[in-house]
Each structure stands twice: as C-alpha cells, then as structure tokens.
C-alpha cells in the first residue's frame, strides 16, 4: 500500500480508484449485457455519471497541482538544460538557489514565472497552452535539448513584482543593499535581473551553436 504524503496524492488515489470502478462497471455491462432494469440503470448511473464526475473533479485538481511542479515544467525536452541547472546542487544561478530553498519546494519555476495578479493562475496556464503549441510546432525533432530549434525567450519582461513577492523592498537588509535604487526598483525602472543576471546560465539561447533568433 503506497503511503500518502500530500493532498495531491490523496486526490490522485481517489481519481484512480473511481476510474477503475467506472471501468469495471463498463466492462461488466459489455460482458453481461444485462436487461435495462432498475438495477442495471442504477449501476450504470454510478459507472457513467457519479464515478466519472469524481474522476473529473479530483483529477482536475490533482493535475493542476502537478502542473505547478518543476518535473512537469521540465518534462518537455527543450527545458532539459533549465531543469538540470535548477536541480544542480553546485550551481549558483538564481534558478538553482531558489530551487534549493525549501520554501519553494518543487514549485520553483511556477513561483517565479506565474503572473502575480488576481487571475494570474489562469493567464499563466493560458501561456502554458501556448508553450505546448510552440513545443509541438517548432521544437519537435530538434535534438535532445531542442538545440536545433529557435532560441527560447520569455513572452514579456520579467517583472520585479515576482521577486518582491518574497523580497520586501522595505526590509532593513534590503534597503542597506539597494538603498540607492530602491525607488527605481519599485517602479520597475531598474529590473532586478539587470544586476542579478545569472538566472538560467544553461539557457538554450546562451549556448554556443544554438540557432540564433531572427529579429524582423
């Protein structure tokens, strides 16, 4: 019996159990072909209605939770270098430093790259659909790390607000280090990653030999 450590795992277990029950009821109907009496109809209502509904609900939540994790982000081959660097215990890149921070857990990619607004989760997932489309249309068969494809670039400039979710610009230690530029940082006139620029050192666009982006 596998141990359950999180709500996500519990939801996955519920979804899987209900899917199996629904499949069993379906198989029973297909094999036995019973008369459509009250019992058969009730069984089919469970198998075709109640259990699939539970699978949908729990499966959606569990899947959404999984899409926030680093292994999911790295499951497209073009993300390989990013994932390897983020999980490298010797790397000093921003991605690796933040991934090692236990407060980020497995969700280091999502925490920094999700839109920080009311419907941020939705707009982020919409962009995720765009990623999937680009992956299928532009990076299929482009090598193990997608090196034959166009360089990967971020859709919009990385906002300081993402950093300021955790790094308060009013903290004493922050002001000691950034006192001269704090207003520019708050107004996004100066970007955090202008100075802290070792973010993804193994990024596709930074590696020699990568196909260069054509600027029109």
């Amino acid at each position: 019996m596998p141990e359950i450590h999180s709500t996500e795992q519990l939801l996955q277990l519920i979804a899987l159990s209900c899917a199996v029950l629904s499949l069993l009821i379906g198989a029973w109907y297909l094999v036995r072909r019973p008369h459509l009496n009250q019992v058969t109809k009730s069984m089919l209502l469970l198998g075709l209605g109640v259990f699939p509904l539970i699978v949908s609900l729990t499966g959606n939540i569990a899947s959404f939770e999984y899409t926030l994790t680093r292994p999911f982000c790295g499951s497209c081959h073009v993300m390989g270098p990013y994932l390897r660097d983020a999980e490298d215990p010797k790397s000093n890149s921003l991605a690796a430093l933040h991934s090692r921070n236990h407060k980020f857990g497995e969700t280091s990619c999502y925490t920094c790259h999700a839109d920080y607004q009311m419907f941020g989760a939705i707009t982020t997932k919409q962009n995720g659909m765009k990623h999937l489309f680009m992956y299928l249309t532009q990076y299929a068969g482009t090598g193990p790390d997608g090196e034959g494809g166009p360089p990967i670039h971020i859709y919009k400039p990385f906002k300081n607000a993402a950093c300021m979710q955790c790094h308060s610009t009013t903290a004493k230690s922050y002001l000691e280090r950034h006192g001269d530029n704090v207003e520019e940082i708050r107004t996004e006139a100066v970007r955090c990653i202008d100075c802290h620029d070792v973010v993804h050192p193994l990024a596709l666009s930074r590696r020699p030999g990568a196909k260069k982006e054509v600027v029109k």
Binding site: Q12, A15, L16, A19, V20, S22, L23, G26, A27, Y29, L30, L36, K41, L44, L45, G47, L48, G49, P52, V55, S56, G59, N60, A62, S63, Y66, T67, F72, S75, C76, G128, M129, L132, Y135, L136
Partner: protein, 92 residues
C-alpha cells in the same frame, strides 16, 4: 423499437466513458503535458457526452415502457343518485 435504440445508446455511452476513463487514468499515472491537455479537454468532453447519451437512453427506455410520464387526470365527479320514492324517514 425504442428499447433497442436505448440499448444501443447505452452501449455507445459505456464505450465512450471507458475511453475517457482510460485517458484520465493514464494522465494521473503518466502526467505528460500533451496527454494531460488531451485527457482534461477531449477526455472530459467524451465523458460528458456519454453521460448525456446515457440519460437520453434512459428517458427513451422509460417512454417505451410508458412509465416516463403519466398525465394527471381529473377524477370524474359522480352525479348524485336521484332520490327513490319511499326512501324517506318512516312516518310516525
């Protein structure tokens, strides 16, 4: 006739649900982005259509048995029986 159609519809609904369940179950075991998108959009669509088909089949089946809708009929009011002579109270 309607009963046979209903049985065929239930058959397709069961097949559809089973396909959807396989998709969704596979996503939970192997959550690859493409499979996840397919399962959570097409898979759920198939499951919903299968459920609708099943409910329609049940409605059809009930209709064929005449048990789906029983119209309410006003009870016919009985006319009072005409008084029969000699039925009155006995004379003193």
């Amino acid at each position: 006739m309607k009963h046979q159609t209903a049985k065929r519809m239930v058959f397709y609904a069961v097949i559809g649900t089973m396909v959807a369940m396989i998709f969704m179950g596979a996503t939970i075991i192997y959550p690859h982005p493409l499979l996840l998108v397919v399962a959570m959009s097409i898979g759920q669509g198939i499951a919903m259509m299968s459920l609708a088909l099943y409910l329609l089949a049940v409605a059809l089946d009930l209709q064929s048995q005449g048990g789906a809708y029983i119209p309410y009929e006003e009870p016919v009011a009985e006319e009072p029986a005409p008084p029969v002579e000699g039925d009155g109270p006995p004379a003193a």
